[in-house]
């Protein structure tokens, strides 16, 4: 499959068929991502990592993906955007960068920055997180994790747990899952419920959607339990935060009543939402999820930059 020259700013920039094809291509990249023989689809290509905000796993997995495919990286990993740009606009910075590289991966604190970068650049731009906005490759690797375990993205019961209000990964995942026909079960504290706008949009698209604030009950029926970080800053006081975090903790006793095939996912890094004892159970899928970032990003980079008509 080829997506030559396209910008990937939002998961909505990809059709359902394109997502399916990317996931299939990512499956073929798994061996190469583990260090096996890789196609040199990015040989001679340079990919710029423009990270204006700290990120470890997103940047490193992109860099790994580029290098596995024989390409090389130009990396701006300086979190202090000002020292790098010296007051230069993002538009000018990207314009300049697009003349040094064949594609740009952007992480930036302002919403909409990737859309602006896509206009500034005549090379493909991949959004690797714009503030509270979009992060399409995270959604792709979430889907890849579910697909790898179940062989399908439809007919599953997926519980989204925790901060459904601010968690950007959860919004685009919910939209994609709805598109593929899985049932979405929302489980969150009242103050962190999915915003009405997203709920309406999902229902409008015919999503199977319901709420189950009772966590043990939600876990019993789930095929996938997607856990998000609950951020302290979102709460007015420490006490309320502790109470919520306490009631959404995933541990072995809670999972004892789960289906054997249940997988627990988390975008990482975790901060106590999932007890370490879960790591040793067959339910733990979050480290696999982190690994799949590499083959998924390899598949996307190949589709954007690889030779046209190849790499299918």
């Amino acid at each position: 499959m080829s997506l030559r020259g396209r910008d990937i700013v939002s998961i909505h920039d990809l059709s359902r068929d394109e997502i399916t094809a990317l996931l299939a291509s990512a499956r073929k990249m798994v061996r190469a991502a583990e260090g096996g023989r890789a196609p040199a689809t990015l040989a001679g290509k340079i990919v710029a990592m423009a990270f204006f905000e700290p990120s470890t796993r997103t940047r490193l997995s992109f860099e790994s993906a580029v290098q596995r495919l024989g390409g090389s990286c130009l990396t701006i990993a300086d979190a202090g955007a000002t020292s790098l740009r010296k007051g230069e606009s993002l538009y000018d910075t990207i314009r300049m960068l697009s003349s040094y590289a064949d594609a740009i991966v952007l992480r930036h604190p302002n919403e909409g920055s990737a859309r602006l970068a896509a206009r500034a650049s005549d090379r493909p731009v991949i959004n690797a997180g714009d503030g509270a906005g979009q992060h399409p490759t995270q959604t792709l690797l979430d889907l890849a994790t579910i697909q790898e375990r179940f062989g399908t993205l439809s007919g599953l019961k997926v519980v989204l747990l925790g901060d459904l209000k601010y968690g950007r990964t959860v919004h685009s995942l919910a939209h994609a899952l709805a598109e593929f026909g899985s049932e979405i079960v929302l489980s969150s504290p009242p103050s962190l419920r999915l915003p009405e706008e997203h709920r309406a949009e999902l229902q409008h698209r015919g999503a199977k959607l319901r709420e189950e604030p009772d966590l043990p009950k939600a876990v019993r029926e789930a095929d996938v339990l997607y856990v998000t970080r609950i951020q302290k800053e979102r709460f007015p006081d420490e006490g309320e935060y502790r109470e919520v975090v306490g009631s959404y903790r995933i541990d072995a006793p809670l999972l004892a009543a789960a289906k054997p095939r249940l997988i627990v996912m988390h975008p990482l890094p975790r901060a106590g939402e999932i007890a370490a004892e879960v790591d040793a159970t067959p339910h733990a899928a979050y480290f696999r999820q982190a690994f799949l970032a590499v083959p998924v990003r390899m598949a996307l980079l190949s589709a954007l930059l690889g030779p046209a008509g190849r790499g299918r």
């Binding site: 538009y91 000018d92 919403e111 920055s113 714009d130 503030g131």
Partner: protein, 152 residues
Amino acid sequence: MRELKITPIRNGTVIDHIGNGLALDVLKILGVRELDRDSTVSVALHVRSGKLGWKDIVKVEGVELSPRAVNAIALIAPTATISIIRDYRVREKRAVDLPARIVGVLRCPNPNCISNQPEPLESEFEVAARRPTVLVCAFCERRVTDFVRHLA
């Protein structure tokens, strides 16, 4: 010519069929971007109208509105008609028309949007729905329905 609620103007623009009570918002749009100091502006509030029941009218002497001002008026007063007066006669008359993209007229309500940073690009919104109008920021996808508060 039918009865004129306000003194005739020689050259200028008449914005008629403004929804009842919206004339002050129209003035706000004109005030922030268009008027040169020599223009006389007359406003008629709560005028009988066949179509609308009641309407407001704004007349601006000596000024022909720019397309951008017309777009802004279309946002808050979609029923308005704009007549260009030259030498006391109506020379052009048209309904305002909301374009598919609104460029530069509004500020994005999301303070963290890149369009509110010092970048060499104008704000931009796409029309997501009509009647009532809903706009979506072309950068951060934030929805806007309260246009008067977010005039650039």
